[in-house]
């Protein structure tokens, strides 16, 4: 894990805080400035690189385990890769839609996480060499793009909001990763990604513009965290999770105005 404090401290961050405060005062309407937020969005880049880095490292370990016909090792590597991916879903669908669709295709994909999941966890087979090669290639391709990919606060707010909505989807059927039984981990990693993106990019600006709304957003992210901090998927209170997800989306929609951004899209956007 990277040290998150490095983003929240230091001289540059203090300058940004002062800048944000000035912008808010100058505008009078207490709206944050979108251009400034785009600069703040850069704070998210190391987290993004680290998350996909974990996914890539896991996929490479998976390839090694598969080559050695080591089923237990392959499963462990898949889970590690998956965790890195799920933390990164705040940006994947919006910023790299094609790679996202290949890496996370569902339900009976030829390549990607779920294709490998079905064989490893479903059939208990390790003959996933070509699928794993493709996953490593896709993740490697993605990892290479991350250093120079333009990041925008709008895009990250869109992605955060969409992921919040998705966390509230029904898991009555066992959820997305039902074969590996890691749907709850997916949700936790999603929520961790949501928390991090919000805290890193938007929290300060929103607190300056609208303290009450910032508190509401914080509180509802906390509610999501509490709801997924249970022993297993059966114990996630599904109706409450859905409500919390929708209330947080509504709050983030309200936040977009206060931040000088457009209302977030509900499907991966091409603005």
């Amino acid at each position: 894990m990277m040290d998150q404090r490095c983003f929240n401290s230091g001289l540059s961050a203090r300058f940004l805080n002062v800048g944000l405060l000035l912008v808010a005062l100058l505008l009078g309407a207490q709206r944050a400035d979108a251009a400034t937020l785009d600069e703040v969005a850069e704070r998210y880049r190391p987290y993004m690189i680290e998350g996909i880095g974990q996914a890539l490292a896991g996929a490479r370990n998976l390839r090694a385990s598969v080559a050695a016909k080591d089923l237990a090792g392959a499963k462990k590597a898949w889970l590690s890769a998956r965790a890195g991916w799920e933390r990164s879903e705040v940006f994947t669908a919006g910023f790299v839609p094609e790679l996202d669709a290949q890496i996370d295709a569902w339900p009976n994909a030829d390549t990607g996480f779920h294709a490998i999941e079905a064989k490893l966890f479903g059939a208990g087979r390790t003959d996933v060499d070509s699928e794993t090669d493709a996953l490593v290639d896709h993740l490697s391709d993605l990892h290479g793009k991350l250093h120079h990919m333009p990041l925008t606060a709008q895009g990250l707010l869109d992605g955060t909001t969409r992921l919040v909505y998705e966390v509230g989807e029904s898991k009555a059927d066992g959820g997305e990763s039902r074969i590996s039984g890691t749907s709850l981990d997916d949700m936790r990693n999603n929520v961790a990604g949501i928390r991090f993106a919000y805290r890193t990019i938007f929290a300060e600006a929103l607190a300056s513009a609208d303290r009450k709304l910032a508190d509401a957003v914080n509180g509802r992210i906390g509610e999501l965290e509490r709801l997924v901090a249970v022993a297993d998927l059966q114990h996630v209170d599904i109706p409450k999770l859905r409500r919390a997800s929708e209330e947080l989306v509504v709050a983030l929609q309200g936040a977009s105005t206060r931040l000088g951004l457009q209302r977030p899209t509900l499907e991966a956007a091409s603005r």
Binding site: P107, Y165, R178, L233, P239, V250, L266, E267, A269
Partner: protein, 463 residues
């Protein structure tokens, strides 16, 4: 990337969903319930993916009238997992999971709660452990068509009042919280409005009418003929043709106790038969009575009785194809309840309506697969637009509920007006535009569920 030209921009403008969209991620929910992490046991079958749904006919809509607020509220509550206990809520099950559109669900099956598709142990351990009687004694899931003619209630006829029966299903069988009197009254009003499907083969007093075959005539004669070894009995003695083919009594017909006479109206669509659903067909039912009452029926007699039962049990258009139109029609009825509740500042009903309608719309969203779904090619922009439209409605509903909870009823009313406006024209048009690539298209539907089954089968095989 998407083909922007394929989208009707007028729709986008009309519904003002903001910027242009592409598909996003989210697995289709609700079927098949499987895996080890669900609220229900592995291999549960709720049959929620069926493309043909039982058709529902309402008494109040037979003439120029329409459904009352109470009936719509009852239908809403009947469709709401929120009125039941935690296991049902977790699984997204409501009354309508078993009684699909007020009929039955012949494929419904929960391991250790069912012994065969179509039955269910109402005193089993899963939904209310406190009501568990430690024996697997499931009963057939009955159709509720014509229920107002069919008292007493329960297969053993133990409850005279439908109101008492409904309350017991909620609290006793499914461990729900004590429902308000208004909710119970509403569900009773709804159930009492579900009519039998019309059957032109039945004339006055339940006699066969119209073009009647010779076999049906002979069957009708056998039906009223006294049993050879006990002339006090006949089929029609209990299944009284002039009284919806029931006598409101319990009888021992050699099936293990006293059970009430079931109606024969629309029974062609009510299999399995007998209180525990032990029989699949009229053939088996007739053989049972022949055996138990020593009727001495010839093969021809049996065929004639089956022909008669089939004519009596028929109904016009028993199923209808599921589609966005059917879902929207029902959701619009529920929405009327929401409007009334906003006017009345009734936050309890507002919350119930928002949760129930929102769930229906979230499920409908998953009928338009996202771009990651491997079984759907084409229609990406249309599907994304449909998904966006439905998600926007879900969030509009949530805003209504949040505003009402905080006492901002004028805001809730304004959002409600906006919601109604979208549901009248824009959303149906958007959904129609995406229909070819939706799970309402049988080809897409079959490919998607075949793929899901294949993936899940791999897991079962490996076990």
């Amino acid at each position: 990337m998407m083909d922007r030209g394929r989208i009707r921009r007028s729709w986008i403008a009309a519904i003002a969903f903001g910027s242009f969209v592409m598909g996003f991620h989210g697995p289709v929910a609700a079927f098949p319930v499987d895996g080890d992490q669900t609220a229900l046991p592995a291999k549960t079958e709720l049959n929620e993916d069926a493309l043909d749904k039982p058709r529902e006919v309402f008494r109040s809509e037979a003439g120029a009238g329409g459904k009352s607020h109470m009936i719509n509220l009852g239908n809403l509550a009947f469709s709401s997992p929120g009125i039941l206990g935690s296991v049902a809520r977790q699984a997204g099950m409501s009354c309508s999971t078993c009684h699909v559109n007020g009929a039955s669900n012949a494929k419904f099956f929960i391991p250790k709660m069912s012994t065969r598709p179509g039955n269910f142990d109402t005193t089993g351990p899963l939904f209310n452990p406190k009501a568990d009687n430690f024996v697997l004694d499931p009963v057939r899931i009955p159709s509720l068509r014509g229920a107002r003619y069919l008292a007493p209630y329960g297969h053993d006829g133990r409850t005279a009042s439908l109101r008492d029966f409904v309350r017991n299903v909620i609290v006793g069988e499914f461990a729900g919280p004590e429902p308000s009197p208004e909710i119970v009254d509403a569900i009773v009003a709804y159930i009492n409005d579900i009519d039998f499907l019309p059957n032109p083969s039945l004339g006055p007093a339940g006699h066969l009418a119209g073009q009647v075959s010779d076999a049906e005539r002979r069957g009708e004669a056998l039906f009223v003929k006294p049993f050879p070894h006990d002339p006090r009995l006949s089929c029609a003695g209990c299944h009284v043709p002039s009284a919806a083919f029931v006598d409101h009594q319990q009888h021992d017909v050699g099936s293990g106790g006293l059970f009430k006479t079931p109606t024969l109206r629309n029974a062609d669509f009510n299999a399995p038969y007998f209180h525990d659903g032990r029989y699949d067909s009229y053939d088996q039912v007739v053989a049972h009575f022949d055996r138990v009452f020593d009727l001495g029926l010839s093969a021809q007699d049996r065929r004639d009785l089956i022909a008669y039962l089939t004519a009596v049990g028929d109904g016009v258009q028993p199923y209808e194809r599921d589609g966005a139109g059917a879902v929207i029609k029902e959701v619009n009825d529920f929405t009327l309840v929401l409007g009334t509740a906003i006017s009345a500042k009734d936050t309890t009903i507002i919350a119930l309506a928002v949760d129930t309608i929102g769930s229906e719309l979230r499920e409908l969203t998953e009928r338009y697969p996202d771009r990651k779904n491997t079984n759907v090619a084409g229609g990406g922009p249309e599907r994304a637009l449909a998904r966006t439209a439905l998600k926007d409605l879900v969030l509009t509903l949530r805003r209504i509920e949040m505003a009402a909870t905080e006492g901002r009823f004028s805001e809730a009313a304004a959002d409600y007006k906006n919601y109604r406006y979208l549901m009248v024209a824009a959303v149906p048009a958007v959904l129609a535009g995406a229909a070819p690539w939706s799970l309402f298209n049988p080809e897409v539907h079959d490919a998607h569920y075949a793929a899901l089954r294949q993936v899940l089968q791999a897991k079962r095989t490996a076990r």
